[in-house]
Symmetry: C2
DNA sequence: CATATATGTCAACATGGCTGACTTAAAATT
DNA sequence: AATTTTAAGTCAGCCATGTTGACATATATG
């Protein structure tokens, strides 16, 4: 694969060889992901900077918000970072009153994480632009396109565990 | 927006209030983007590490590959990073023979960037998993879904300039 | 000729990843 | 009951990649 002899990647937008067309299609998709993600994160990053927080804080706020009483290990599994990295961020969020830790009852080793009121407010504020951006894109693209968007992104996600997070009750079974 | 009183973000998967349903839908989309991007970048990052390169190098390789003779300022505009950040990365790629710089002919201040053979080989290798991943997702989701995926991601991208990059000759005009 | 533009460079700093080593408390196993 | 495993936290240091600010050079443009 690495030593295929190919023309410059951008060279055959209108080429006749279907292999090149396919490559062009795939590389366009890569770029779509890059640009969308770049613009998707720009605004939240700017708002967070005012709180001396970064994208890492937002990710923690988001997933704690979505899963009240989430355990530290589950959060680590989702974010795929080390516990040292997470603890730095989590410590700040707890110290500044955005996240609460409670000892688990079934397993008292666990520290269950939940947003405080301030935490929910902050998350709402930080994600407002992202939600508006997605809403606009969904509205413009239409319901069918939204379904396609979901299907393709699900296909890109690697683990069955993570895909299962998006099972929808009323969705067509395929 | 920040002081709306909402239940925990994950609380109303089957709720009856359409506002909550909408919020849930939007937040799911945010997560889809997060997980897809996380898994999309994991493999390339691992391969690049063997060359003592990072994701920033990959982005440069990708866009130089897609746009041979791209100028530094155009690359900066795409990546939205400072020229100091780019130069660090670019310097390494040039020093190690993956990227060539040529003086522009029309404007001799410009340094036109192009991948060398080694650069193309490296980019091919690093992006192989990404292309395979997208190809699999496209294949499983079907052509209609791919169209929807494109439309939604285009809607997420902010600037008209960047959207124009994806104009397709044969695409339906809507 | 004066000014604006494209590029490069030096220095210092911040964020958020990482590894490795070690601790504590509680659960699970033997 | 003793041992081992697990969940979480901590300290120390490293690295990649972003930032700002100041300044330099060559070339294009008015």
């Amino acid at each position: 694969m690495a030593d295929l002899k190919l023309p410059p990647h951008g060279a055959s937008k209108h080429g006749t060889n279907p292999l090149f067309l396919r490559d062009e299609e795939l590389r366009q998709a890569m770029e779509l992901l890059f640009f969308a993600y770049r613009d998707f994160t720009a605004e939240p990053d700017a708002i967070l900077a005012q709180y001396d927080f970064g994208r890492a804080h937002h990710r923690a706020l988001h997933f704690i918000g979505r899963h009240p009483e989430i355990t530290v290990s589950e959060l680590l599994r989702i974010l795929r970072i080390t516990k040292q990295s997470l603890n730095r961020v989590l410590g700040q969020l707890v110290a500044q009153g955005y996240v609460e830790q409670r000892q688990g009852t079934r397993d008292r080793r666990q520290r269950l994480l939940t947003l405080t009121g301030a935490g929910r407010t902050l998350e709402e504020q930080v994600s407002a632009d992202q939600r508006a951006r997605i809403a606009k894109a969904f509205r413009e693209a239409g319901a069918e396109s939204v379904e396609g968007f979901r299907k393709v992104l699900l296909g890109i996600i690697g683990g069955e565990e993570d895909r299962a997070r998006f099972d929808r009750p009323g969705a067509p079974r395929r």
